[in-house]
């Protein structure tokens, strides 16, 4: 037996392909097995350790809290509000980022002039603005939306500007020599060239934006899943806090896998210049 086999490295796929039960186990059971192990260990730890429920609620407590939140309608309302804040923030951030990026990149001199400022604002994490926003606007949903929009917009500006500047000028000239105007250049050359990096930027920004959403909701202290997580612990309902965290994780994975990733992949397939883009 070789050393690598002892380590249990990936066995050849072909060997397993004809055994349907092995595949069913691998695709259907194994992905859930990890969660089952974690939940079992958590339940055992919670009931055997004797730590008070306030400090260490068990999975069963969390499920009850989740059902309770669902039955009282709090869960649905807060998820709706969080999604509303989040989508508004992402939409504003994406539009502002692309518009600002295109404006800055429209002229080489302007972009040389403004890039250091753009890079500096990019370096300031969105959460750092929150104390200032609180002083300006008080605690409320506008802080949440601005924090999300900021974190989506700032890397996008950077992506759009570098994307536009990396397009060889010869393509634009080709369109112009064929009689196209600025609008045609934008539509036929610039946008297709930058869209994959725009969607990539949106997805990365949306990831950071989701954390910003939860944090801003915690600090704005009014509504949403972040508020649920924060306020429940303050009132000793720790199981609700953990339930809120589970909801947050599920919500983000849902948004990421169902919308953001397919969108990014589609943009790469449609407009991407890389030859291996279609293989995935």
């Amino acid at each position: 037996m070789t050393a690598a086999a002892e380590l249990g490295t990936t066995p050849p796929r072909a060997m397993r392909r004809d055994r349907w039960w092995a595949r069913a186990w691998q695709d259907g059971v194994e992905p859930l097995l990890g969660f089952a192990i974690v939940i079992a260990a958590w339940q055992a730890g919670s009931s055997l350790s004797g730590v008070p429920k306030v400090l260490f609620p068990s999975p069963a407590d969390v499920v009850w809290a989740l059902l309770d939140l669902f039955n009282t309608g709090i869960l649905v309302e807060y998820v709706k509000l969080s999604l509303l804040h989040y989508l508004t923030g992402v939409a504003i951030g994406a539009l502002a980022g692309v518009a600002l990026g295109l404006a800055i990149a429209s002229n080489r001199r302007v972009s040389d002039l403004l890039m250091p400022l753009v890079n500096f604002t990019y370096a300031i994490v969105e959460v750092a603005w929150i104390p200032l926003l609180i002083l300006w606007w008080g605690y409320g949903p506008s802080i949440i939306i601005v924090a999300v929009a900021y974190v989506v917009a700032s890397p996008l500006v950077h992506n759009v500007v570098t994307g536009v500047l990396s397009v060889p000028p010869v393509y634009g000239r080709a369109i112009r020599s064929l009689g196209g105007g600025s609008w045609s250049v934008l539509r036929e050359v610039t946008l297709p060239a930058i869209l994959p990096s725009v969607f990539n930027g949106v997805r990365v920004g949306a990831g950071f934006g989701f954390r910003a959403l939860i944090f801003a909701e915690m600090i704005a202290q009014q509504e949403g899943v972040g508020y649920l997580i924060f306020t429940s612990a303050a009132t000793q309902q720790t199981a609700r806090t953990v339930a809120g965290m589970v909801v947050m994780g599920v919500l983000w994975l849902f948004l990421d896998r169902v919308y953001l990733r397919p969108l990014e992949r589609a943009s790469v397939e449609r407009w991407g210049l890389t030859s291996d883009a279609g293989e995935r």
Partner: protein, 259 residues
């Protein structure tokens, strides 16, 4: 990129900062708003000097950076070896991966209420959040990095009779290196956000606490100082720490290929 001399383009890049500062300075005489909302540049400058001279700024920045550095090192030292080891077994990695994905999605600031319950407000709770953030991000990236190595390479190494250590050194580390580096960078960015956020909400010292504390007495000048310092700190961390890490790991990787 262009042939323009460096000094000239640096001066050009400074122009918008100067313009911004000028606009900000004259803004109160053009627009009317309560003075506490946006103190003038000179007031912010005076506050900055004050905070520097009384040592408050240095203490806060020091506390924050120390926590970030400790959390970054500890989090990665546990997460990367653990992730790589688990992912070297295909079945284990298939079982662990969904859990890693989920935990990475909730890592960081969402743990703040639990951290306060377990450790109370302050240093330990903040450090816990940053470690948590760094750990789950790097753990996920380590697993997905090892998993991204093509099966044919595993088979090649195995058929050549490599020892376990050789598998790690010749295949796993170089093969997962790009993703591991991405993991380091992402974990630092997430850790930094978690740090500032945690200090704002449950901290008792550090740059974030300095700013949040200032909201209680309308210290807009202090807050603006904090925002600028946070921007400059991140630029410095990103440039110096990351340039160094990337240089060293790539160099080490090169040495592995030389053997």
């Amino acid at each position: 990129m262009t042939g323009r001399p460096k000094l000239q383009s640096a001066l050009l890049g400074l122009t918008p900062f100067v313009a911004l500062v000028l606009i900000w300075q004259v803004a109160p005489s053009v627009f009317s708003y309560p003075a506490y909302m946006l103190p003038t540049v000179s007031e912010v400058g005076r506050r900055f000097i004050e905070l520097t001279l009384n040592g408050e700024l240095a203490r806060s920045v020091g506390a924050s950076l120390l926590r970030l550095a400790a959390a970054f090192v500890v989090g990665n030292l546990i997460a990367i070896p653990l992730g790589v080891l688990l992912a070297m077994n295909a079945r284990v990695s298939r079982i662990v991966m969904p859990v890693a994905v989920f935990l990475q999605a909730v890592a960081g600031i969402a743990w703040a209420p639990l951290a306060v319950l377990w450790f109370g407000l302050g240093n330990t709770a903040v450090t816990f959040l940053v470690v948590n953030s760094v750990f789950f991000s790097s753990f996920y990236n380590a697993i997905s990095g090892v998993r991204s190595i093509p099966p044919v390479l595993w088979r090649a190494v195995r058929s050549l009779g490599a020892s376990p250590w050789q598998v790690v050194r010749e295949l796993v580390l170089p093969g997962a290196m790009v993703q591991l580096l991405l993991g380091l960078r992402t974990s630092l960015a997430l850790g930094w956000r978690a740090l500032v956020a945690a200090e704002l909400i449950i901290g008792t010292n550090g740059i974030g606490f300095l700013m949040m504390d200032a909201t209680k007495w309308y210290g807009t000048d202090t807050i603006i100082c904090g925002i600028v310092v946070i921007g400059v700190l991140w630029l410095a961390v990103d440039r110096f720490v990351f340039a160094a890490i990337e240089r060293n790991t790539v160099r080490r990787w090169g040495m592995v290929n030389d053997n």
